[in-house]
Symmetry: C2
Subunit: 284 residues, 2 copies
């Protein structure tokens, strides 16, 4: 049970975590914090948070757990605003989709003494955003990856571990580097590809007609291209190296496949399609 | 009302069309034809077809409408087997996802006198295949593109037009070339990308772990990579030129985006993501 939680950024992820913890009776009170008072008022109306505060220093001052749920590009500024205002024993976590850059920012701001910081990443979301899209079941049976640092107090990690379990999630620990490699492959690369594909079509002369003949498969395939551009801009830069490595691997594989199609090399085409189908049917 | 319909290839598409026409009372009897008697027996058991025949010449001989619903690579052989066995006034159509190569095969086999041939393509399907996966509502409010030839008898086109309307579809006419360009962009390219992406991950050392951390967005994104490899192999070769052109366009756009990420060129990244999101939200 968390007596007082401070949620910085009450959008899809932050709002859904608030709802889940309230539904589970795992939190006493929640103060929301963010830049837009209208959105925070709406979050109070929806019962997602109990109160709000636009001054970060005030918002965090009496919280036992602080969750930073803003786009990763905004995290350094949030850390700077928090610094020196946490009460003793408070635990800090975040929900950023890239961990290396967030950990680096925390180290730069907090000076390497961030024993109370537990970096985290819930592998859940939809293409929607904002508190209106939040729902308590978002993390149900989904995975949350924690990447505790060498300096992180195991007791702090335990608090965040229990918080996510209360929200219905399965909690796993990975190293920061490993997290960023895996997410570059399974999430960041697919988003970049989806955006690039839809943009390719959108830039064609007959764009209206192109989309008119797109069937259900295309809608599923491109759903993630409706995700928040600012958020994904931040993730691409935050996980730049691992992402560029994955784009290179994928581009080479696509070029090989194009070559096989050009050469009418049926064996290679079928081997590629079969390997992909088997992997997807087995693992997804 | 079609008195007797011959369905060559009773899989997802062929089976669903049979079910839809029966549900609408738009067909008298249906004879199924294919290579696998077990599958055809199953189709009779399921009530999808009334009887079956493994000899194509016999199957088509008393049919008013013949629908060829086999992978596009198998169509030339089907046309050759049909030749000379259609009864006078019979109408022939197909459901191939690429039209140029099908039309060329028909011309070569039938000698340019195929006034009874109405090339068609229902823009519908799932990643599943086989008659077990077929259902009567598959074409409900979906588009069917007909690409009648100069030699095609308008009365024949009308028969196929009404058949698809009875199955619940909206029928549109396009030229063969235009069809193939639009489908390369909206269907064939996305399938090739999905196969290539899943294969890139499947070939990585930590494949099991990669897929373990893939979330819902990834499952949606890669669903089309579970499609039938043989069918998509055929489509890639059948629409090779238009598809290769689209792969080239997409690869250049992806390379530009990778360059922008490498250079941390926020303006270009955000412009690309915003254009894509707007197009998808507007059209899909």
């Amino acid at each position: 049970m968390i007596s007082r939680l401070c949620m910085i950024g009450v959008g899809l992820i932050g709002g859904s975590l608030c709802r889940a913890l309230k539904a589970a009776g795992a939190v006493g009170s929640i103060v929301g914090c963010g830049r837009d008072p209208m959105q925070l008022e709406r979050a109070v109306e929806l019962g997602v948070i109990d109160s709000f505060e636009t001054d970060i220093a005030k918002a965090v001052s009496d919280a036992d757990v602080i969750v930073v749920a803003v786009p990763v590009g905004a995290m350094p500024a949030v850390f700077a605003a928090i610094k020196g205002h946490l009460k003793p024993g408070a635990v800090l976590t975040d929900v950023g989709s890239a961990k290396g850059s967030v950990v680096l920012a925390a180290r730069e701001v907090f000076g390497g003494d961030e024993s109370y910081f537990v970096p985290g990443h819930p592998i859940a979301g939809t293409e929607k955003n904002g508190v209106e899209a939040s729902f308590a079941e978002l993390f149900n049976e989904q995975r949350v990856i924690l990447t505790p640092l060498e300096v992180t107090d195991p007791a702090a990690t335990q608090v965040i571990h229990k918080m996510w379990q209360a929200a219905g999630a399965e909690v796993i620990s990975l190293s920061v580097e490993h997290h960023d490699e895996v997410l570059a492959a399974t999430s960041h690369l697919p988003h970049v590809i989806a955006y690039a594909l839809v943009d390719t079509l959108a830039r064609m002369h007959e764009r209206r007609e192109m989309f008119q003949f797109a069937a259900g498969g295309f809608r599923d395939f491109t759903r993630i291209a409706s995700s928040d551009p600012q958020m994904w801009h931040d993730i691409c830069l935050a996980n730049k190296d691992a992402l560029l490595d994955m784009i290179r691997r994928f581009s080479m594989d696509l070029a090989d496949l194009a070559k096989a199609i050009e050469d009418e090399d049926s064996a290679t085409i079928k081997a590629t399609f079969n390997r992909a189908k088997q992997a997807r049917d087995q693992y997804c």
